[in-house]
């Protein structure tokens, strides 16, 4: 029943677990991880931008003792554009106990048909870890280089929190953050959403999402795609996402079993 597993390392004695043993170990480790059951994510999710970014964060925090740990996913993601971890993210990371990325729940293409000059985003931050407080939150959206436009053309990208969305009138919006970008710019745009995410955490019913608005040099609203913003369609590894940093704000004890 015992054999040396060369892949794991000659110092480890490897024994195949019986199904009952495997189930017990799985149950115990899930309990340690604080999970009620084994998660079942969509199979295609691993190619999204958020896992790539999160893997970069993981690599930043991992010790030298775990060098092989991410090799499988590194190989999968090789060649894909990485959602680069900035020095600011590293600072947030030092202070964080948990980091979570959230997928956008709005179908970007369908939304642009309804509102051609505004892109809506929605992130469900209600299912966040218990007893943890938000220390920072960033909305990240990728801007591609626009070849066919004048490189000197500039755009203003504004992100608003939706305060009210009456069915037959304009939405009430609160400006959260703005960026001026050149048509020739290429890379991730990062918007601070710390206060808004904290509000959504405390009052999930106030989470009506975000609106992104693009204006040209003349202050005219434009389709966000005009500036190369990847809002819905486009490569999976450049899809927008929300990343939130948490810190434990209470001491938790595991119950005796």
């Amino acid at each position: 029943n015992f054999s040396v597993d060369n892949e794991v390392g000659s110092s480890f004695i490897h024994r195949r677990l019986r199904s009952q043993e495997r189930r017990e170990i799985q149950r115990e480790i899930l309990s340690i991880l604080g999970l009620p059951h084994r998660p079942r994510p969509h199979a295609h999710a691993k190619h999204n931008a958020a896992p790539t970014f999160m893997l970069d964060l993981y690599n930043t925090v991992s010790t030298a003792a775990e060098p092989r740990a991410y090799s499988r996913y590194r190989a999968v993601l090789e060649g894909q554009a990485s959602a680069v971890v900035s020095p600011q993210d590293s600072r947030f990371l030092d202070d964080a106990d948990t980091v979570m990325s959230f997928v956008n729940l709005v179908d970007g293409d369908r939304d642009l048909l309804v509102r051609p000059h505004t892109q809506a985003f929605r992130f469900d931050v209600s299912r966040i870890p218990e007893g943890e407080a938000i220390t920072a939150a960033e909305f990240r959206i990728y801007k591609d280089f626009i070849r066919e436009r004048d490189g000197n053309e500039t755009f203003r990208v504004s992100v608003y929190q939706v305060l009210q969305e009456p069915p037959d009138s304009e939405a009430a919006l609160l400006l959260l953050d703005q960026r001026d970008v050149w048509a020739s710019d290429d890379g991730w745009l990062v918007f601070d959403l710390t206060a808004t995410s904290t509000l959504w955490q405390l009052s999930p019913q106030q989470n009506l999402g975000l609106h992104l608005v693009l204006e040209d040099n003349n202050g005219q609203k434009r389709n966000p795609r005009r500036a190369g913003l990847l809002t819905g369609s486009g490569p999976k590894d450049k899809q927008p996402f929300l990343v939130v940093f948490f810190k434990v704000n209470e001491v938790r004890f595991r119950g005796a079993r």
Binding site: M54, R72, V99
Partner: protein, 141 residues
């Protein structure tokens, strides 16, 4: 302390003799008290998330070296076993009175954390630090 009973003198002298023998053996570095004795040490134990069939939701790591502590905390404890002062006294008392006082336990004295990166049911990604997952050092408690 031991209750005063008849035959106490005889018991005490037996115990004292045993302790003296043990001390002599310890000084000589040999003797019946060392024998096949396996001291308290850190041993390899790898937890493989891949073998648990979790590669679809745990992004990293594939697994981690958790280690475990095993070995006897027997008289005489030496510095190799990273024993607490209390463990040293308990070993001696166990030696004198094995029926009443157990040997100290070989257990982790230093633990490290690991970070785990995984998907939830909604395909959100979670990076979480878990404390006390990896044994760094073992000792007699």
């Amino acid at each position: 302390s031991a209750p005063g009973q008849k035959g106490r003198q005889s018991n005490r002298s037996k115990q004292q003799k045993a302790v003296q023998e043990a001390l002599k053996a310890a000084e000589a570095g040999t003797g019946t008290y060392q024998g096949d004795f396996q001291g308290c040490k850190k041993h390899e134990l790898y937890v493989s998330f891949r073998d648990l069939g979790w590669q679809d939701w745990i992004i990293a790591p594939e697994g981690y070296a958790a280690y475990y502590c095993e070995g006897e905390c027997a008289f005489p404890l030496n510095s190799d076993m990273n024993a607490t002062n209390h463990a040293i006294v308990q070993t001696l008392v166990h030696f004198i009175n094995p029926e009443t006082v157990p040997q100290p336990c070989c257990a982790p004295t230093q633990l490290n954390g690991i970070s785990v990166l995984y998907f939830d049911d909604s395909s959100n990604v979670i990076l979480k630090k878990y404390r006390n997952m990896v044994v760094r050092a073992c000792g007699c408690h």
